[in-house]
Symmetry: C7
């Protein structure tokens, strides 16, 4: 199954990350910050608005977009306007 | 009876789906996720905005649109802007 | 008395309908669904926006518009943008 | 004193009306419905927007506009966009 | 001190008025109605929007604008869009 | 340090003022009214919108803008649209 | 890792500052005021809107933007419209 985002939306594969506290306890990044990072896997058709491309690593607000599970993996359909930055 | 959506609206036949939990219990998909999928059965007249066509399988936010029962089957009248993605 | 809707509004004669439950009890449709159907009896002057005509059977959100009683019969003055679909 | 409405506003003389219940009790119309009728007595200067004229009998939402008493009579200053229909 | 309203604002000298109740008790008009009247004493620079001039007696919503005391007298700085009518 | 307001913003030096009550007690003006006055000390770059200049004494809503302390003195960064009037 | 802000956003390195109270107690500036200052380290692609450049010291509302930690240092991704002033 292929998911093609509509309009100004972008499909992002959510990046799971971990972080060690000072005491060595591992906590998921999502518990630390208000942003999350992911990998763009598909973009919508609204090319004037969309400024990211497949393969870009992006940072977005943790509460933006709609989460979907594709073949067991967490993804996010998020509007371009909710993508905060590209990571290089 | 034929239902012709107005303007930028799309008529979608809601797709019933099931999912097995690890323990084998079947739960409807609607209880698992915030998105739902359906089949486009009619589109509105606003062709500049509508980017889906009859027969497309689409994903939309579970809380978008207005549910209607047509000849015993659950449908949804949803605005194009609430359709998140096309599934191929 | 003739009621001529202003601007992008449409005057709809609310359609009373009934439905039988499995056990044969009759319940009004308004108790079952979030949509209601009616017959367009007059349209406003904003012809660019209004895409229905007198005699059209339309479906609208049950909570849209303003209800008015005309010669004892329930009508609704509803904006074109709140009409969800035309029934044929 | 003459009241000249500004912009897209219309001055309406509120129509007092009565209605008999089945048991013959007279109740004012305002207690029955969400709309009220009145007579247009002056219109604002925004001629592109205003589609009613002095002498028109109009129907408006009971909660629209600002009520004013002119020489002891209840009037309403209401925006054109809140006038639902013209009665003929 | 001269107060020159900015943009689409108008400076109004609030009109104090009184009214007798049936029993002869005098109550200020502000306790009776949702509108208040005043005298325009200065207008802003946005001439396309402002349709009143110095000396006009205007009616406005009692809760619109910002009250200011100029040399001991109550005034109101109110946007043109909140002026309901001109009194003649 | 020089503070250059961005866009349609204006930097205002808040004017401290006092007022005597009938009994001679001095209370700060801010406790009396909903407006406050100040001196424009810098303006933003959006010249089409900004209609005040350095040195103008302006009146603004007490709750508008963001207060900042510059070299120990209270200032306000306020949008042009929140400046009510110029005092001359 | 390099963070490139999208659209009308700006990446700001939050400036840590301290202030002594009268009694000599050091309190962080963030506890004193509603504004915060920082250094622009990257700007988005929307050059028509963005009026700051790398190296500018800017003042912004403490509650604007989304905080991100980059290599252990607190940064903020903030929209140009939330930057109040440039400090020189």
């Amino acid at each position: 199954m292929k998911v093609k985002p509509c309009g100004d939306r972008v499909l992002v594969k959510i990046q799971e990350s971990e972080a060690k506290t000072a005491g060595g306890i591992i906590i998921p990044q999502t518990a630390q910050e208000k942003t999350q990072t992911g990998l763009v896997v598909a973009v919508g058709t609204d090319k004037d608005v969309i400024k990211v491309k497949e393969g870009d690593k992006v940072m977005y607000d943790k509460y933006a977009g709609t989460q979907v599970k594709i073949e067991g993996t967490e993804h996010l359909i998020v509007k371009m306007s909710d993508i905060l930055a590209i990571l290089e």
